[in-house]
Symmetry: C2
Subunit: 198 residues, 2 copies
């Protein structure tokens, strides 16, 4: 998606260790007009899917998911990162390893809000090694629901999580795929689509 | 706001200890059409304020704030609950006591995304004892910015945080104020507005 790639090139900051900081518009300060354009693109890409629920994970996915929900006209559920005393009853739970924070954390979704009748679009801001996404997919599977697709804002193509998940047959639509980035020059190279792809 | 009060009465669950569970539509599963109606109401209530930024706190505030931002046409910043290695440079920080989780936590906002030029609308899902809100207000003050107002979905009127903050002169607009609730009958009593108020 040209608009997002241009914004990443303009406002993203490449840091040591493969870190791409986009907190000026994506995951600390949030440009909701940009989210709206992203949502339209996901709506186009998943137009043929019978999506009736959007699943994301706190915190950075929530804004994107809520704006997208206005285009899909479905509820959003966000997976919570720690057991809260305000979640009662049974939950689906899974462990996710965070490379960013260097630890394991538990992610939960109440059984009340996802079930066998659900056709789920998973949305998140980043896809790198794929651990968070695989955790969300495992929650959907545990619930007996169907993963209709995965929408990602920025995929780090050089970390292979996206390729591994696509290989299982899941439709993963990343609006910008970073294939390489150089912390010295700040240059970010995006994956170009094959002829015939949109 | 009638629509929200009716939804709380219909789908909210009163639990022991003054807990009101609204996770079917507000803070786990999210009804984004309802959020849109809430956003319209805040836009009306704060129409005369020169708001150029919305501040909220992760996680439950983010969805509400992003939908509201589409009405106010301003960026959203969400305060983060723990120091992340992805936040560099300097931050404004404050300590908040969570009665829900029974602990203190640190809340931060990057200095890059809030400053003396900002006129801030603070939005959040709940207002009870007011600790989280006072933390956010202290971040805005530290940044030299102006709190133009506070928009809350559900205020627990019997916990006095809202009244204490209103007494300081801040415009606090809670779309539903619960004055009492009964865990045995499930009855929720809302504060009625005075004649002349909208």
């Amino acid at each position: 998606m040209k608009l997002l790639e241009e914004r990443i090139q303009k406002d993203g900051v490449v840091k040591a260790g493969g870190v791409l900081k986009v907190d000026s518009f994506l995951n600390h300060q949030m440009d909701v007009d940009l989210f709206d354009a992203m949502a339209e693109e996901w709506k186009r890409l998943f137009a043929n899917r019978p999506i009736n629920k959007i699943l994301t994970i706190e915190a950075s996915g929530i804004g994107i998911a809520c704006i997208a929900a206005r285009h899909f006209h479905v509820p959003v559920v966000f997976a919570k990162k720690a057991k809260s005393i305000n979640i009662d009853g049974e939950v689906y739970a899974t462990q996710i390893h965070s490379f960013t924070h260097g630890r394991e954390y538990e992610v939960i979704v109440s059984r009340k809000y996802i079930g066998p009748e659900d056709h789920v679009l998973i949305l998140d801001d980043f896809l790198a090694n794929g651990c968070a996404l695989e955790g969300l997919m495992s929650l959907v599977k545990d619930a007996g629901a169907v993963v209709e697709g995965v929408g990602i804002a920025i995929e780090k193509g050089f970390q292979r999580g996206g390729d591994r998940i696509r290989a299982t047959g899941v439709q993963v639509e990343s609006l910008a795929i970073v294939d390489s980035m150089d912390e010295k020059t700040g240059l970010i190279r995006f994956r170009t689509k094959e002829a015939g792809e949109q």
